[in-house]
Subunit: 231 residues, 2 copies
């Protein structure tokens, strides 16, 4: 799984949320591409961008939810890069089958995005233009990853956010428990390599062992259930 995170933020260095996401990005399998840094004059290299998109299985747009949409440069990117013949249309649908998702940061609590809330509409409603774009390009639309009021989160919540973000970037999107376990085991093994003490390394190995054992029990149970179903 190779993931491209296309980031649009005009003042990224002032955003704690964006700094946190940068530091939380896994070293392997993920490429960050910050448009305002890549194109400070706003002149987008369309050929390069199209070539880039083809290298990845999962394409994510990451941006602050300004006026219920992206900053201008990402919209400019969409209009220039996602052309007929490349992204959609009879003569080309080169992105078809890839995964697509939004990573949104908002200054307002997610629960305000609903009828009667301060924002009046759900984030699913407000992001219809991206859903329509994904549908037109044959992209599989993932549930959006929303980070609201980042600056008010405590350390424990930030740790949870980190894991959830890494999963959003790299975990297979089949919703199965086994995939989640495999993803955690992969992450734990990477942690192991990162120079832990022997004690910590043994703890990590034990945790992987527990996950494997649980999986064996679950597999036995599933097998028994299937047998019962057949008889």
């Amino acid at each position: 799984m190779q993931t491209l995170v296309i980031i649009s933020h005009p003042t990224i260095e002032d955003s704690n949320a964006q700094q946190f996401l940068r530091e939380s990005t896994p070293a392997e399998g993920v490429t960050r591409h910050h448009l305002e840094a890549a194109y400070p004059d706003g002149k987008i290299d369309v050929e390069y961008e199209q070539h880039l998109l083809l290298q990845y299985d999962r394409i994510l747009f990451q941006f602050p939810f300004y006026w219920y949409s992206s900053p201008a440069l990402l919209k400019h990117w969409q209009d220039l890069v996602l052309t007929e013949g490349f992204a959609y249309g009879k003569n080309g649908n080169r992105l078809s089958g890839k995964e697509f998702g939004l990573i949104l940061s908002t200054g307002i609590h997610e629960s305000e995005y609903r009828a009667g809330g301060r924002e009046g509409y759900t984030i699913s409603e407000l992001t219809r233009p991206y859903q329509a774009m994904a549908a037109k390009c044959g992209l599989l639309y993932l549930p959006a990853f929303v980070i609201s009021k980042f600056d008010y989160r405590d350390d424990r919540e930030k740790k949870r956010l980190l894991v959830a973000y890494q999963q959003y970037l790299t975990k297979e999107n089949d919703g199965s428990l086994r995939t989640a376990e495999d993803w955690f085991k992969g992450q734990l093994r990477t942690v192991g390599k990162a120079g832990l003490s022997d004690v910590d390394q043994r703890l990590v190995d034990q945790l992987v062992g527990v996950l494997d054992e649980n999986r064996d029990h679950l597999d036995d149970l599933l097998w028994s259930l299937e047998q019962m179903g057949e008889n």
Copy 2:
């Protein structure tokens, strides 16, 4: 009624629809403001724009519906101009009570914007971000004015479009027949001034007379109905 049409189109001179709308714009009561022409370097004068907005009763965004939204420069304008303290928030809601609407041109027939159609979502769904913006700024949201497949329209359809567009720009939005009549009479009187032949001028006067006469009949009928209601 003073109307400001904020236009965003990166290649406006190549668009027949936009040329038609320009030529259809009434000479009085309407100001056109083409962002790409005003700010070729993309550097928006925020103070000027905010000052401008305050002069008008009706604010319209006119743009081609690229990727189910506006071109980038209008989004940039929104992010810079519609600030907290000016457009929304406790310390300022200076646009509150004004009318707001969208004038969208699309290359795809409007009927394709629905579940099962080529575009999958209605234009009302896809323009939720603008509805949420209007709600946050206290703007009264008008039904969008959609021009689809302009280049395929015949002269008769274009004439109808012209009248509908002029109404969208300048007619009071109370849905009453009397307002529509008054609007037509105002337009006809303007036509009269524009140097018609005597014969044409007499025809216009007759038409205004017919409208006035119909109105008298309707008023009589309404008065009779009210009397019947009271007895």
